[in-house]
Amino acid sequence: MNITDVKLSYLIEYFLDFIPFLSVTLQYTLLAMAIGIVFGLLMAKGKLGKNRILKGFANGYTAVMRAIPSIVLLFLVYYGLPKIFMGAFAINLTRINKVYFVGITLGLFNIAIMSEIMKSSYLSVDRGQYEAAVSNGLTSSQAIIRIVLPQAFRISIPNVGNAIITLLKEGTLGYTIGLIDSMGRANQQNALTFQNHILEIYISLAALYWILTILLDRGFKAADSKLSYSSRAKERQTVKAGEISKEVAA
């Protein structure tokens, strides 16, 4: 087919057809985030700690994850994980939902990504914040939990947003192991229509992801500025002003 033959009606039809499959995207992204946050936290602790073995392991893991293409790790997980589970625990994984394989693959990358984000956010909080807290009568753990970590979390929001967008884009490779997310659905439709609508299908799919990432980007930017400490204060003041005007009215 030719680009001049692209029909708007088909574009809309396929676009709407793909939308429900975003629930699969959501599933593997959530799984990957959960894995990344839990194990990433442990890795970040290892990277920031004094134990040389843990530190070496965490840094080595991150370096390896940075070097392996997503598609290669996906195949390794998809073919390797059932073999390991069969050999070690005699558990048959071959029939579980493929979304888990994609989620775990992305999760393995995300551990490295999140640990780097957590480490750099933690380090970017000025040392003086901790010092002021302990000299002000807080214990070391109170200082970290109440003063340092909330600030580190705030700093990490844009990076976490980027990580989520990366994950949901990389997840499209799931089609190579037969996962039916919106990308898998696109290939299915392609086969059903004997490649006759191939342009419409991929344009719709591209549009879907494009819009999705733009919306997510906006969302994270809004969250970032909304959570900034100065804008929160403005809110407080307007609330206060509102209360006062209510009192005046009463």
Binding site: V64, A67, I68, P69, V72, Y175, L205
Partner: protein, 238 residues
């Protein structure tokens, strides 16, 4: 779990043949995208070319927003299409079926890397003080000279670590060229794995090769960083 080591060794040797293809796509993309990406960054950061800026902003947003595999699928259909339209319009005798797949892959990766690097350069331009260019221009250089002799060397120096990460990202991305039937490292492993039903072994070998390549790239960049900082120190001392 037992691994077929003989097969792994064979696949390793076989996969080495894919390295030149991977590196070729990477090298051409980088060489083209370094100047193009820089120009794109300048246009997007500037205020002079409003229309070009708007188009490039949309383009950058597309490249960032759409998964690479979807871009590949789309462009794999679109490129020959557009090429044939151009050929028809200009009455050029091009056999579009004769264009090798790797040419499309390279074209797509040049476009992708240009946009990708433009983001890096935009960040890099902010690390160099505006006064540097102003000083150069008021000191008798043309704007072009100011950029090539003063600003760009500083941007590149500041950007070396990020460029290293970007290069590795690019190398990993080329693994998706299998979708365009380009036979590079991953595609070779895929074929070998399917023929021998040794999937885990094949992809372990592939992973190892990528790790070796990426570590080599990192060391090359580290070497460059050391040389650059040495040069600055020498200049400062001299």
């Amino acid at each position: 779990m037992t691994l077929n080591y003989e097969f792994m060794l064979e696949t390793f040797v076989e996969s080495l043949k894919g390295i030149p293809v991977t590196l070729l796509i990477t090298a051409i993309s980088l060489l083209a995208a370094l100047p193009l990406g820089f120009i794109m960054a300048l246009v997007r950061d500037g205020n002079k070319h409003k229309i070009a800026k708007a188009i490039l902003d949309v383009y950058a947003s597309f490249v960032r927003g759409v998964p690479m595999i979807v871009q590949i699928m789309l462009m794999y259909v679109l490129f020959p299409d557009i090429l044939s339209l151009i050929a028809k319009a200009l009455h050029l005798p091009i056999d579009i079926y004769g264009v090798p797949n790797i040419a499309y892959a390279i074209l797509l990766f040049v476009l992708w890397t240009t946009s990708f690097l433009s983001e890096t350069f935009r960040a890099g331009l902010h690390t160099v003080n505006k006064g540097q260019l102003e000083a150069a221009v008021s000191n008798g250089m043309t704007t072009f000279q100011g950029y090539t002799r003063i600003v760009i060397p500083q941007v590149l120096t500041n950007m070396l670590p990020v460029l290293c990460t970007n290069t590795n990202t690019l190398i990993k991305m080329t693994s998706l060229c299998f979708a365009m039937s380009v036979i590079e490292i991953t595609a070779i492993a895929k074929i070998a794995a399917g023929n021998n039903l040794c999937y885990v072994e094949a992809y372990l070998v592939t992973a190892l090769i990528y790790i070796i390549i990426c570590f080599t790239v990192e060391n090359i960049f580290k070497f460059m960083e050391r040389n650059v900082s040495k040069k600055y120190k020498r200049l400062a001392a001299g």
